[in-house]
C-alpha cells in the first residue's frame, strides 16, 4: 500500500475488526465483504499485511479450520483486546466523522 493511504490503513483496520466481530472470517471472504460494502478501490491484497499486524498485536487470532466448501482455511476471530480496540475505533470514528464531513463540505462550497 502506498504512503498516501495511511488514513485508509487505520480505517481499514477498524472495518476488518468489525467484520470479524460479526462472524469468524477467512482472508478471501473478508476481501469480498469489503468490496461488497463498496470499498472497491482498496487493493485486495492490502488486507493481508493488516491481518498479520492485527495478529501480532493479539487483536485477532487465526485458526486453520475445515471450511464448508472443504479446504482448510484460516478463520480469524476477535480477541478480548480486539474487542476493546474496536470499541476505541468506533468512538474515535464517531467523534471525527461529522466534523470532518462538515469541514469538507464547507471547503467545497
Amino acid at each position: 500500500m502506498s504512503k498516501r493511504s495511511q488514513l485508509l490503513k487505520g480505517v481499514l483496520e477498524g472495518c476488518i475488526l468489525s467484520i470479524i466481530k460479526i462472524t469468524p472470517t477467512y482472508g478471501y471472504e473478508l476481501s469480498v465483504k469489503l468490496q461488497d460494502y463498496g470499498l472497491s478501490n482498496v487493493s485486495e491484497g492490502s488486507i493481508y499485511p493488516i491481518l498479520l499486524r492485527l495478529q501480532k498485536e493479539k487483536l485477532i487470532v487465526g485458526e486453520m479450520k475445515d471450511s464448508d466448501a472443504g479446504p482448510k482455511r484460516k478463520y480469524y476471530r476477535l480477541t478480548e483486546d480486539g474487542e476493546i480496540s474496536l470499541q476505541n475505533f468506533i468512538k474515535q470514528w464517531e467523534s471525527i466523522k461529522e466534523p470532518v464531513q462538515s469541514i469538507i463540505n464547507k471547503g467545497r462550497e
Partner: protein, 229 residues
C-alpha cells in the same frame, strides 16, 4: 495445522494457477520464504492465504498484479515486515539438528571409507586427530558453512523479481565462484591450522558405529519434532 502440512498443501494447490500467475506467485513465495529468521508457521499460513486468494482471482481472470498491486516486491516487503520472528529456541534446535546430521554423515563416511582402505592395506585402522586443532577446525568450518549459506540465500533473494532474467552462464559463474571460495576456505583451514592438543585415536569401525547411532537419533528426532518433514 503444522507448517510442513501447509507447505504440502501449497505445493498441490499451486499447480492449479494459470501459467502467468504461477510465475508471479512463485517469485513471491521464494522471496518471502528466503527470510529465514521469520516464523515458519506464520510465513506458510500467509503464503497459503495469498495462494487461495490468487486462485479465486485466477478464476475471475485477474492477475497477481491486480490483486497485490503493481510492485510485487514492495508488497512482499510490507508483508515480511509484519511477519513475527521465529522463536530463538526453534532456531537453535534447527541449527543443532543440522550439525548433528552433518556429523553423522561425515562419521559414517569417514569410518566406512577409512576402514575399507585399511582392508586394502592403505592407511591405519585408527582415525587419529589432535583434539585441540581438530575442534578448532570443526568450529571454523561450521562458521564458514553458515556464512556460505547466508551468502547463497542473499544471492537467491537478489535474483527474484527480475523482469529481465540474467543469462544462465552469468548466474552459473556467480554461484560457481561462491562455491569455490567456500570449498577453498574450508579446506584451507585444514591445511593451514597447526596441530595442537593430544592426539586421539579411535578405531574406524567405532567412528562408523557412532555415525550410524547419531544418524538414527537424527531420524527419531526428525520424526518426533518434524524438523524437516
Amino acid at each position: 495445522m503444522n507448517a510442513k502440512d501447509i507447505i504440502k498443501l501449497n505445493n498441490e494447490k499451486r499447480e492449479q494457477l494459470s501459467e502467468s500467475n504461477k510465475t508471479y506467485y512463485e517469485d513471491m513465495l521464494m522471496y518471502i520464504r528466503l527470510n529465514t529468521n521469520k516464523s515458519e508457521q506464520q510465513t506458510e499460513e500467509v503464503l497459503l492465504e495469498l495462494l487461495e486468494h490468487l486462485l479465486e482471482a485466477d478464476n475471475n481472470g485477474q492477475t497477481a498484479k491486480d490483486v497485490f498491486g503493481e510492485d510485487l516486491k514492495a508488497y512482499c516487503n510490507e508483508l515480511i515486515s509484519e511477519i513475527p520472528g521465529e522463536k530463538t529456541s526453534k532456531n537453535v534446535s534447527f541449527i543443532a539438528f543440522l550439525i548433528l546430521d552433518l556429523i553423522a554423515i561425515v562419521s559414517i563416511f569417514q569410518g566406512v571409507v577409512g576402514y575399507g582402505l585399511y582392508l586394502f592395506g592403505l592407511g591405519s585402522k585408527y582415525f587419529s586427530f589432535p583434539i585441540g586443532s581438530g575442534l578448532v577446525i570443526v568450529i571454523i568450518d561450521l562458521i564458514i558453512l553458515a556464512i556460505w549459506i547466508i551468502v547463497i540465500l542473499k544471492w537467491l533473494k537478489n535474483s527474484s523479481f527480475k523482469e529481465k532474467k540474467p543469462k544462465k552462464w552469468v548466474e552459473f559463474l556467480q554461484i560457481w565462484l561462491i562455491c569455490m571460495a567456500f570449498i577453498g576456505l574450508s579446506v584451507g583451514v585444514f591445511i593451514v591450522m597447526p596441530d595442537f592438543g593430544n592426539t586421539v585415536n579411535i578405531h574406524l569401525l567405532a567412528v562408523a558405529i557412532i555415525g550410524v547411532v547419531l544418524y538414527i537419533v537424527k531420524i527419531i528426532i526428525n520424526n518426533k519434532y518434524r524438523i524437516t518433514k
